[in-house]
Assembly symmetry: C2
Amino acid sequence: MHAEFVAVDWGTTHRRVFHVGAGGMVLAQRSDDRGVLAIGSGGGDFAGEIAALRAQTGDVPLLLAGMIGSTRGWTEVPYVAAPAGLAAIVGGIAHMPDNVFIVPGVMVDDDKRPDVMRGEEVQILGAHAMGKVPDGLVCLPGTHTKWAEISLGEIMRFRTVMTGDILAALKAGSILSDLLQNEPADDAVFLEGVDHALDMPDLNAELFSVRARVVTRRMTPADAASRISGLLIGADVRIGLGRERADVVTIIGAADLCQRFALALQRAGRESFCIDGDQAFLAGAVAIMAALAGAPR
Amino acid sequence: MHAEFVAVDWGTTHRRVFHVGAGGMVLAQRSDDRGVLAIGSGGGDFAGEIAALRAQTGDVPLLLAGMIGSTRGWTEVPYVAAPAGLAAIVGGIAHMPDNVFIVPGVMVDDDKRPDVMRGEEVQILGAHAMGKVPDGLVCLPGTHTKWAEISLGEIMRFRTVMTGDILAALKAGSILSDLLQNEPADDAVFLEGVDHALDMPDLNAELFSVRARVVTRRMTPADAASRISGLLIGADVRIGLGRERADVVTIIGAADLCQRFALALQRAGRESFCIDGDQAFLAGAVAIMAALAGAPR
């Protein structure tokens, strides 16, 4: 059990705030663009931000997750090494003054394939607490897509594919910029891109080929964004599945992005089901607060 | 033979101008940032730019190559379909008023793998005219690296890998931006990235892993740019070589970039030799002007 609290998923560019009642019910929820970069890396006035939050929510415990615990955030909370489950993650929480708790990230402590996450671990713990993550592979699509292997509720290892970040960079400034002003809209064209990328490891050539298709009138500019999305997500899924034999993949995130990954996974012969990212975060925050309440100090 | 002329390699962001004497000797050479985007796509004052060039060089024939012949340039000159050699490319030249000639680009007219180039065809023809391109594979590294198969001086087919464009986009805005403010400086770290990318088709995960290496203190921020360069160029070479059995690859371009690609090709078990890009362009322009002078109108 836990008392009333506020949980914040505090990312690089955005922040989601959940005010949770003692029974686990959400009293209020909002999101804004006060990510850590907006507040100012390192030297930013995070204490002022916390005070502003408290002014709205009252003097309740505050659970912070995400980039807020990174070198770019308020204070650096060391990563917990995988395998890591609820107990290890709660054990790594930084106890700050005034009932503020910062969740640690998780790292894969492997010289050949090191990796890090901050924030997604709460969603994974939450999906498990909801009874919705069987052992196997979990995918959290996004700016930095995470593919995590779960066993008995522990994050065994994971890998990041920077799909959304690369898409945004290509949109901001590249030969594909103007084509990416459109939104992906055609599932058939999207799936052709997925199929290609699942099969062929030549992404940086196929991306240019989208421009060539448009210039040689083989593709309309409107379809280009769908193919680019398909190529990037197809490559993401190919890398994420790796040598995994998982028949079923759990996808955690926003509905529209989950659906695109579900389509791509289907083409790769995998079943999948989707869990809402906010719900998973909330369930994870509740599980962490309950464990904190029961844990020895 | 040809009379005195001016050749311009007129790209998207830059322009290189060569004033060539009747014997093929360069009378003057300069480069500036008056690329087609600076002048204004489509509706830009290209006639004014031409007049400004002529004011400096005198009233001699003007040979223009590159993006100047694209939809973003002065006037669209249709691509010549590969296979294409000197005769086909000269046959596709647009004859404009006042002794201005615009070289067409070359396209791979293939629904499965369409591709386009504008400007590189002059360098390839030039390298061949210099007697320096045996049949086989030619690599022109850069913003959009070209890998072309040459047979008897004809461009048979080619493929583009958008390596430099993606690197610039990642540098301008991504999780890797701050790490890319450094220049690649360490060849050993560069080659580790090359080796990985030649072997493993997981580029968009390995790129994020560079950040993870830095965050977990496995790599210094100063080394990160070398590894990222190695990963991108290694992937470029892997895609460019494809199923090619070519033992020797001709690289055409600027010395520093050619050297990085030569190192990567060496790791892939290929010999290579480098041809300066300006010299190749110049030789190609001379060959085209000679053919134009001898060709029926």
